[in-house]
Subunit: 249 residues, 2 copies
């Protein structure tokens, strides 16, 4: 144990990438190149530590993270193996709509189409898990990219969970951004589906009625309560959700 709490100055392999990352990369390299194939055993903590000349905890961290990421599977006594991955989970980034649009270089526009207190449909009530006398704020907004309709947002807010929303006009600020700044969220639940455009949605989004829309529904939770439920509809032809996982180039 000399410098940096024992990191040997000898190797210093890749300048200064942390040791545990070097190990992760080495393992990934074996898998990527096909030397280790799905189902094959991977050396255990102790063996890895010996090969890399590091403490077992360091090797352990590398292997644990790989397991967390689904690259390998670990079981006590049975040892570690390269995961037989099905298709791995898919990370979709759903950024704030205004930032998303501006990131593409387009000009962001926002219009409040309607705002109503108490217009609570039965299904909205159910989705908000609202009691019979719960009050809501209903909003219909349109987000534009370069003056063209980009996303139609229909939202219900439980006024008991976010009372301040009642006194906000939402004429100049989108409800998403307002809520992010005023209500602490914890969790969310999403649902993605394809739908045919209703007449109203078609009119606002400037597509034909019946045209395919990509619809994203989100419920946002705070302490077991649904704060808000929102339906985001995009013209299917002009909109995609993009995502990447693992490594590629």
């Amino acid at each position: 144990m000399s410098d940096r709490g024992g990191r040997r100055s000898a190797a210093e392999s890749a300048e200064s990438t942390p040791r545990y990352l070097q190990i992760k990369q080495a393992v990934l390299e074996q898998i990527r190149s096909g030397v280790w194939r799905p189902g094959d055993p991977v050396p255990g903590d102790a063996e890895v530590a010996r090969r890399f000349g590091c403490a077992r905890m360091t090797a352990h961290r590398a292997l644990r993270e790989l397991a967390d990421e689904g690259v390998i599977e670990r079981r006590r006594r049975a040892g570690s193996r390269v995961a037989l991955r099905t298709t791995r989970s898919l990370l979709v980034d759903v950024p704030r709509i205004d930032l998303e649009i501006e990131a593409t270089g387009a000009e962001y526009g926002y219009r409040l189409l309607a705002r109503s207190l108490g217009r609570t449909t039965h299904s909205a009530r159910a989705r908000l898990r609202l009691g019979p006398d719960g009050r809501t704020l209903w909003l219909l907004c349109l987000h534009l990219a370069d003056q063209r309709p980009y996303q139609l947002e229909e939202r219900w807010i439980d006024l008991a969970a976010a009372p301040a929303a009642e006194h906000e006009s939402f004429r100049d600020i989108g409800p998403n951004r307002w809520l992010l700044e005023h209500v602490p969220f914890v969790g969310a639940e999403h649902l993605i589906r394809a739908e045919a455009a209703s007449r109203r949605a078609a009119r606002h989004l400037e597509v034909e009625p019946g045209a395919p829309l990509l619809v994203l529904e989100r419920r946002t939770f705070r302490e077991q309560r649904v704060v808000t439920w929102v339906r985001l509809a995009h013209p299917g032809a002009r909109y995609v959700l993009r995502t990447a996982s693992g490594e590629h180039g």
Copy 2:
């Protein structure tokens, strides 16, 4: 240090949940309940270790994982703060189709509709990043749940990246499963959109032409190369992608 390498028998707070998880939960509880709000400072490694009576590494692991998950933000010297989260990423689980169907209790069925060598369209060629003389295998398959069409799969495989595919009939095994067992993947790129059903897709999926379909496209990579590109189409009305992030009840 007494039992379990020093874990004090005294508290043993929650029976036997690991110490680092207890710390994570405690921090999350502060945030969930609104005591710590976005932007507020979070005690550092040393302080947490002191409060919980554990080693700094244990506190460090809890805080590091929270940072990895995007719950808190950490900066040297500046300390840790509750993250100002925008909308967090959205984890969609895309399981293997046969397992997915069987998980719902339905009977899984598979049919190979067409198989062709060399039928490479220009767009497929581009998406596979194929040279002008690259050879591909094209497949059209249908996955059924309880005898009803569930997913239409159209797939191109780069035969240079997966030569063995040429000699596989794919009559009894789906390409997804076959590839998982024969070609080591590393990364994937997904794209989700809504589309109107083409006449051919409508016929296979037993919907009206023009009906909304939820389409998932996936490119799978291995060492900078695209191994396979697949288009998975689902009847929009009968299919949704479901997901949850964070915690809710």
